[in-house]
Amino acid sequence: MNNDAKLEAKLNRKNIAINKLKSLGETIIEDVHQNKVPALRVPSRGTSNIVYDDIKRHYVLGDRYGKRSLGNVKQIKKIGQMVYTANFCKDLVAREKTATLRELYYISEGWDVDFGDQQESNIVGEDLEVTLGMTREDLGLMPEEDGASVYGKITLQEGDIEINALRAGKSGYTISPTIDEVEFVDHDVKRVIAVETMGMFHRMVQEEAYKKFDTLIVGLKGQAARATRRFLKRVNQELKLPVYICNDGDPWGFHIAMVIISGSAKLAHVNHDLATPDAKFLGVTASDIINYDLPTDPLKDIDVLRLKELSKDPRYQDENWQMEIKKMLKIGKKAEQQSFSKYGLEYVVDTYFPEKLEQLE
């Protein structure tokens, strides 16, 4: 994209958001004119309306709706909160500003229909997302948390600033919540490797894994933030880079990878923007634990429970996952990423990654 196209795309996103928000108000006013009790149809986010889409390979929302009616005592406050929040967002988008959900919550103090607690304002934020079919980032509502750290040969543009993720410090470039406003200017890598812990991130930087594997290194810091997932999806789609994920070898590490790959049930309404179905889980697998004779901890009750849940999850129905889950249950053990240090600090980069990448590519 050239700069004009970029600007246009940005303006376009802005206009769509404003129009959608406006039409929400119009629906209500139109109902009043027709002497009907105004009501909004909000797609249901209940578990029974969250469906795994085999084609898209991630969770999507089904077609069930809930109602927020002005004529219902329990719903009237919600509808009020939605309208106020919509006005607030419209103002944010118009002024090209953002706010956190926490700020939204405090802002509501001045409203006639305020939020009882943070939980309430979070829900209304999501209601707005699903009702309008837009992510909350589009509406100017940003998460508090920053995304992952990125290290490697990629150049990004935020506003009029160009950032080289190889020259942003040893801890790399931090993906900000406004990742959708970032453009990819240039890159010289063949793949992306995301790792669960910053300990592993720094190890890879230190051992120059970015050179050895022509890779971007992404330090997830545990469960991947929305911005991180959006970033990974974008590098995968826009730059056609394969994405590999390497986490701790336990059900929680598995699932951090899976949420990147297939999205979460909770965010079914935005998974199309967040899931990267082509991303691949590199390790640590139960097979790795055995093959590399890693130091382990015994599975706790909660780990076993979680593994059994995963084995029934539609996202894990692939043969390989099933096999790995069974194997882990059988050996009754888990291992951390960093446990490769048993063989020396360099082992993971010198031996493990090359072997696993060869298998997957």
Binding site: L24, G25, I29, V32, V37, P38, L70, G80, N87
Partner: protein, 524 residues
């Protein structure tokens, strides 16, 4: 050094019942100072009630408890019952195992130990004799006698120390007893609470009680109806054991076993007797005394397999819904009360019983613990309050197993509620010697639950209506407040004028009311 048997048996002796219980007074329930006094109240009050009702008199009892010294009390207890004929006075008060309540009849007391036990305790702790005045009708005229009595434990007989005829204008018994080693307490297990509960279970009675501080409590009659007298009922075939049959056979005046069966058991027709004879092959024409144990056993085994009509329930006289509510209102002054009496059913195949229950909410319901009212459970068996051993009792267990949240009571323990449950039966299956808790027979548990749940639903309805009234006011306010501001904001969002919303506001208010009242709502 071995000794011969003869030597060893030189000291062999027999005790009378009085001697025995003198050494084992805890077997009469006299253990602990508070409990001992409560048991005394219990024995004397139930005795007075039973006597008055049997004679068709509305019971009225006066109790005067004075404290002479730390643990030393004088108890004066007088009733308006029919009195005790002179000849029986010593037996009633001084002979253990003597009484008129050994039949298969619903009654409050049952052991023949009550009154004589109180006299024994008095005598053991103070050495003082009992003073009894009995006024009774003989040939239509009132005769009254005052006696001073001691119990001779060596013979299990009363010794009359003084006796004189006195004047009396109405019948009744008065007894004066001294006690040491007992204690008057306001606790849940104390004498005062015993009286209070007694009043709830017996709203047709009146008790005037002067406590040791001199305060006089008058528990008024909430109803003028004397409960109908329970009738003696023949045992049901499913409720007898082989030993019972043999015992009957030994003490009957019938000539044939078949007539013994039909005359001693309920629901036992000639047709049934023939069936029994045919199936067991036992000759039922034989004399009762010739009945063998194994024959009795075979008959009882057959009883278990046969279908009989449920036992007659004419012997069971519940307090009744109206009376229970009167009693609870009189004592608890609640904002809501409900009660119900179930139909008779049976446990262990053949013992009939009735469960009745009441719930009082608000007012003086519940028990003050510190600053807060807590829920209280009042257990009764044949109108008698059960004070001890509540843990394992079928009534407690049944009530605790109810999911009170379903009835709108979120925190049962801390609700201002009194729950009353009475089990009525000729044979209440007590768990322990003291007759203070009811065995958790499945049928009894089931009935306690069902009965209570039924009235709990009424309580729920009441609480819900109370809440709904509160809510209606609230709702109207919600719409009035929110509709204008929301529409103003929506217009702002749509970048247009605020429309006229009066018709919509009226519509939603109307609909909300309908919803509240459970009427159909017109959906668009």
């Amino acid at each position: 050094m071995e000794r011969q048997a003869g030597e060893l048996f030189e000291e062999f002796q027999e005790l009378t019942a009085s001697e025995f219980f003198r050494k084992n007074k805890q077997m009469l329930g006299f253990s602990g100072k508070i409990r001992s006094l409560t048991i005394v109240f219990h024995e004397l009050i139930t005795n007075s009630f039973d006597a008055a009702e049997e004679a068709g008199i509305l019971p009225e009892i006066k109790i005067d408890l004075q404290r002479l010294d730390k643990d030393h009390y004088v108890l004066k207890h007088s009733d308006n019952g029919p009195g005790i004929p002179e000849d029986y006075v010593t037996k009633v008060f001084c002979t253990m195992f003597a009484g008129s309540k050994f039949r298969n009849i619903q009654s409050r007391g049952q052991q023949g130990l009550g009154c004589s036990g109180c006299v024994l305790l008095s005598q053991m702790t103070t050495g003082k004799p009992a003073k009894v005045t009995s006024a009774y009708k003989e040939n239509g005229k009132i005769k009254a006698v005052e006696m001073v009595l001691k119990m001779d434990v060596k013979t299990n007989q009363g010794l009359v120390l003084e006796k004189r005829e006195v004047e009396a204008d109405k019948t009744g018994v008065q007894i004066e007893l001294h006690f040491k080693d007992v204690s008057y307490s306001l606790s849940e297990q104390g004498a005062y609470e015993y009286i209070r509960r007694t009043m709830i279970g017996n709203p047709h009675s009146k008790i005037i009680f002067r406590d040791p501080t001199g305060h006089k409590y008058i528990f008024k009659r909430a109803s003028d109806v004397i409960p109908p007298l329970p009738k003696e009922v023949l045992p049901h075939p499913k409720g007898v054991t082989a030993d019972d049959l043999i015992f009957m056979a030994k003490h009957t005046d019938k000539r044939r076993f078949r007539s013994l069966l039909t005359s001693s058991l309920s629901r036992m027709s000639t047709k049934r007797v023939n069936e029994i004879q045919e199936i067991t092959g036992i000759d039922l024409n034989k004399r009762p005394k010739d009945m063998q144990w194994d024959e009795a056993e075979r008959i009882v085994e057959l009883f278990a397999k046969m279908d009989f009509m449920a036992p007659p329930t004419s012997g069971l006289i519940p307090i009744g819904k109206e009376q229970i509510e009167k009693g609870m209102i009189e004592i608890l002054n609640p904002e809501f009360v409900a009660s119900t009496t179930r139909k008779p059913v049976t446990y262990r195949g053949g013992v009939a019983f009735i469960i009745e229950a009441g719930i009082a909410y608000g007012g003086d319901s519940g028990r003050m613990v510190g600053e807060q009212r807590k829920a209280e459970i009042m257990r009764f068996a044949n109108r008698v309050p059960l004070t001890f051993d509540q843990g394992s009792c079928a009534i407690t267990e049944g009530l605790k197993s109810i999911d009170w949240k379903r009835y709108g009571i979120r925190d049962m323990d801390n609700a201002p509620i009194t729950i009353f449950v009475n089990i009525v039966s000729t044979q209440v299956p007590y768990l322990s010697t003291g007759k203070q808790s009811v065995a958790p027979e499945p049928e009894i548990l089931h009935e306690v639950r069902q009965t209570t749940m039924k009235i709990a639903r009424q309580l729920q309805k009441y609480l819900r209506a109370k809440k709904a009234a509160k809510e209606e006011a609230l709702r109207a306010k919600v719409f009035d407040t929110y509709v204008p501001v929301i529409l103003k904001e929506a217009a702002n969002l749509a970048e247009t004028e605020v429309p006229d919303y009066q018709p919509v506001l009226e519509k939603v208010t109307r609909r909300a009311q309908a919803e509240l009242l459970g009427e159909p709502v017109d959906e668009e």
